[in-house]
């Protein structure tokens, strides 16, 4: 029985439980619901929860535990030598699992009956060819142990599925009876239901924490296995990046860091003046009507997907820079370059800086402006000598946040910066970044045992730490600034 069907049954049962619980609470007080502690609906909800909660727990536990039990059982079919070696055992079990899936597929398309499957023997039939017919490709011929283990797995998982359905439904039934037996006029159903809902709310808000834990755990565990294969010192201080998927790669991190920082630098040089002047004009000069037009227009830039900017960099900005700047100046012939990616990331970050800076400038107290005007300063003098110094910490925070976004930007650099890892000062040369290499090493066929793939996780955690550090620093600066006015 499929898990989805089982879920549907549980849901239907709990719907039934709601109706029964509600009806029972009303009949207990013979229709006079003022004698109940809670509204009848709460008794219904409570009964529904006593059905839903335990049966879902049993279902989830069963789904987690069954594969483990199956692997343990199937391991017995393999010789002692295989069982002693954990890697070999995992591979053997994977094979057996694939074979059992193939056997299922044969039953499903009707080419074999249950009896024929049970009679299958590696000595007399070519099981591998049979499996290939149902699109299950195996690396080697199927051994007798593997076939036996697969047959065991099939049988066990089928009976396991049956027992799981039975257990879940039994638990649901017991839950229903228990829930109904709890319905009394004095029973505090509302408090119980609200507590359960509160539990759900807490669960939902802890998902954010789980995500962070997941990020750190997934990247850390793979990075550790990377550093076991490749010395950390050579990674962090190596000057050449030349991965070689057949082995013997040099994976130096510094060229990637240099490319990332150089592109980020260009992006910030573009984004900060443009974003800041836009914000100053909108906050200090523009009439309310003009502002209500310009601000949404600028923010359109922020709503456009980065892949569109990537295409713009590749098709428009890159060729323009190459034909009008790089080639006449003799600096290079490549359309994808640090400048291309940097300028386009800078444009992407204009609305980000301008809207943050706009908020910050607007939060500078009006009295400071009035004081400055009263002393005879012009608008620009007020902005430069009063408002900007007062808003400086917030603006620094905004610039740091923009830096962190530029460092983590992926699509624009993938399409506009090139793929060559170089340590060069020429801004019209193609260079590459950490994010480009993460995409490069993890796209396509990946082998999670080679340092060339695992290096992406080390790059990922470095990127995570770098951006997280910048964000925390920015938040700290912004918070400190706020305290001054409150």
């Amino acid at each position: 029985m499929s898990v989805l069907l089982l879920l549907a049954i549980i849901l239907a049962l709990s719907g039934l439980a709601f109706i029964l619980g509600r009806a029972r609470s009303i009949s207990k007080v013979s229709g006079n619901i003022r004698d109940l502690h809670s509204l009848p609906g709460y008794y219904g909800w409570h009964t529904a929860l006593t059905v839903l909660f335990p049966s879902i727990v049993v279902l989830v536990l069963w789904l987690v535990i069954q594969p483990m039990v199956l692997s343990n059982g199937a391991a017995k079919f393999f010789p002692e030598a295989t069982r002693a070696d954990s890697v070999a055992l995992t591979l053997a079990l994977d094979d057996a699992r694939r074979v059992s899936r193939g056997l299922d597929a044969m039953i499903a398309n009707g080419s074999k009956s249950e009896a024929e499957i049970a009679a299958l023997d590696t000595a007399t039939t070519d099981v591998r060819a049979l499996l290939a017919e149902v699109n299950v490709a195996l690396g080697s011929d199927v051994s007798a142990e593997s076939l036996d283990a697969a047959k065991y797995m099939r049988a066990a998982s089928h009976s396991g599925g049956f027992w799981m359905a039975l257990a879940v439904m039994a638990v649901a039934g017991v839950g229903l009876i228990f829930g109904l037996s709890q319905v009394h006029p004095e029973f505090r159903a509302r408090n119980r239901v609200e507590k359960a809902v509160l539990g759900l709310l807490i669960l939902a808000s802890s998902i954010a924490i789980l995500t962070t834990v997941g990020i750190v755990w997934s990247m850390l565990s793979e990075s550790i296995s990377f550093f076991k294969m490749y010395p950390a010192g050579e990674f962090f201080f190596g000057l050449t990046w030349s991965p070689n998927f057949s082995g013997g790669s040099t994976l130096g991190f510094l060229p990637l860091l240099w490319g990332t920082l150089y592109i980020t630098f260009v992006a910030i040089i573009v984004a900060v003046p443009l974003g800041l002047f836009t914000a100053i004009y909108l906050a200090e000069y523009a009439s309310p009507k003009l502002r209500s037009w310009i601000k949404p227009l600028i923010e359109i830039i922020a709503g456009i997907p980065t892949v569109v900017f990537g295409l713009f960099a590749l098709v428009t900005v890159g060729p323009i820079l190459r034909d009008y700047f790089a080639q006449p100046l003799g600096l290079g012939t490549s359309g994808s370059s640090v400048m291309t990616a940097g300028i386009v990331i800078g444009i992407l970050n204009i609305p980000f800086i301008s809207s943050l800076a706009d908020d910050i400038i607007n939060s500078v107290p009006q009295s400071l402006r009035d004081g400055s005007f009263g002393l005879g300063a012009t608008r620009s003098e007020t902005v430069r000598q009063v408002i900007l110094p007062a808003a400086l910490p917030g603006i620094v925070g905004a610039v740091l946040l923009a830096t962190s976004r530029a460092i983590g930007e992926t699509m624009i650099v993938t399409m506009g910066a090139g793929a060559a890892a170089k340590l060069s000062l020429n801004p019209f040369e193609a260079m590459t970044t950490m994010t480009v290499k993460i995409v490069g090493q993890l796209t396509g066929d990946t082998d999670f045992a080679s340092p060339e793939t695992l290096v992406a996780f080390a790059l990922g955690i470095t990127l995570f730490v770098l951006t997280l550090g910048l964000n925390i620093l920015a938040l700290y600066i912004v918070r400190k600034y706020r305290e001054q006015y409150e």
């Binding site: 002047f277 997907p305 980065t306 569109v308 098709v315 995409v439 997280l468």
Partner: protein
């Protein structure tokens, strides 16, 4: 005495004229203001340039060069045994259909009296798309009774002919191109004059799946749009309930202590984590650990949900905070429990704000590319995924990823395709944003 008067006669400043210093200050003022105008103009003109390039490159993707001529589906070729048995007919490969098409094309040219000078028979066949025989074959196999009849069909022209009609391929580029020659372009001109070659609206661009490197003319967005739609549905189902639940807890119930503080800092940091990091998380947790299938919408949706969750939580919390405390006090005052207050009063009042935030969050998720590359959605998929539930586990691509994978291909015709795909993507984003703005305008309340 006279010296003193002479000194006073030339005052340094006057209230009637503007002093040099003041002139400098005013000039600085004008310059400063001009910088602001310059910054805004520059930003907006770059935006305009970008949209203009995309639209001028991409709009032509919605038209497609097609040849219309009668095709005789000769029974001897397509059904040698004459029994209309589908399995037997399936033995005729696309090569057979290709020959049939070429013959029909040649016959039509002769019948209409169009000269083919300078164009060899092979080049004549190259004017038709490599995709056309396959389409015809699928059509015949689906409906074997067509064999033996003569059908009037619109056949895709090759990518180069398509490019010629749209101005991308010219006689100069054709000189250097081994797939097309100037003589073939002359023939194309004559075909247009004869009404055989035309460029009608390209519905296949919106419906058909991706096509291989050699046939840009057949590539479409069908699978990508289904994939994106599946992911958006799942993201909405996963992300909105969890996001709203988390916001209610943090805003209404959470005690101010260390743990909630950690959760808050966590959420604001997650909102700023680069999206590619979520891709790494998805690869490690959902594909390697949980063994969900690569390239499937379910994995994409889970990754995008985790990425969008902080955005939705932040928007929802702002919406909940905007509901004035007096509403809560009134509900509590007449005996509602805290939970009833929230469910019956605060949530309905915050709903427009929550919906706006959710739609904007979904719009960001729809345009996101980087994490999807890592979970294998960049793979070449030319089968439609199954209808929902199983379809969520079938390989698919997404709109922005399709844009990227077309750009990386060598044929310049794919640039037109990916700009076209961007127009479709921007269209969806536009609709979502306008919906959000209308919702906000319509239901916004000033307390």
């Amino acid at each position: 005495m006279t010296d003193f008067i002479a000194g006073a006669a030339a005052p340094k400043t006057s209230i009637l004229g503007v002093s040099a210093k003041m002139r400098r200050r005013n000039a600085a003022e004008t310059r400063f203001k001009a910088y602001g105008i310059f910054a805004i103009t520059l930003s907006l003109s770059v935006l305009a340039l970008m949209l203009w390039t995309i639209f001028s490159d991409g709009l032509s993707a919605f038209r497609q060069a097609k040849m219309t001529f009668p095709i005789t589906l000769t029974a001897e070729v397509l059904d040698p045994k004459g029994n209309l048995n589908r399995d037997e007919m399936a033995k005729i490969t696309t090569v057979g259909y290709g020959k049939l098409l070429a013959q029909a094309f040649e016959a039509e040219l002769k019948a209409k009296g169009i000269s083919t000078e300078g164009v060899s028979a092979k080049e004549l066949g190259a004017l038709l798309s490599k995709d056309a025989p396959g389409v015809l074959r699928a059509e015949v196999l689906a409906n074997p009774s067509m064999v033996g009849t003569t059908q009037n069909r619109s056949i895709l022209a090759s990518g180069r002919v398509d490019g010629y009609l749209k101005g991308r391929v010219t006689r100069e580029t054709a000189e250097r191109d081994n797939q097309i020659s100037p003589a073939m372009l002359d023939l194309a001109d004559r075909l247009v004059a004869a009404g055989i070659l035309s460029a009608p609206f390209n519905t296949r661009f919106l419906t058909s799946p991706d096509a291989s490197d050699q046939r840009p003319e057949a590539a479409g967005l069908g699978v990508a749009m289904i994939g994106s739609a599946y992911m958006m549905i799942l993201v909405a189902l996963i992300c909105v309930p969890i996001g709203v639940a988390a916001s209610i807890y943090l805003e209404e119930f959470a005690p101010k202590n260390r743990i909630t503080d950690i959760i808050e800092v966590n959420i604001s940091n997650l909102a700023a984590v680069p999206s590619i990091v979520f891709g790494i998380l998805g690869l490690a947790v959902f594909i390697n650990f949980a063994e969900l299938p690569q390239s499937s919408p379910i994995v994409g949706a889970l990754v995008l949900s985790l990425m969008t969750l902080p955005t939705i939580i932040i928007a929802t919390r702002a919406a909940i905070r905007a509901v004035p405390p007096s509403i809560r006090d009134a509900a509590l005052g007449i005996g509602a429990s805290k939970m009833q207050t929230v469910v019956h009063h605060v949530l309905p009042l915050a709903m427009p704000g929550i919906l706006t935030g959710a739609i904007l969050g979904l719009a960001t998720a729809l345009g996101e590319t980087a994490p999807l590359l890592l979970i294998g959605m960049v793979a070449f998929v030319d089968n439609y995924p199954a209808p929902p539930m199983e379809g969520m586990f079938d390989p698919a691509t997404a709109l922005p990823v399709q844009v990227y994978s077309w750009v990386t291909r060598s044929d310049p015709a794919f640039v037109e395709r990916s700009s076209g795909a961007i127009i479709v993507l921007l269209g969806f984003l536009f609709v979502m944003n306008v919906t959000a703005i209308i919702l906000r305008r319509k239901f916004e309340r000033r307390w």
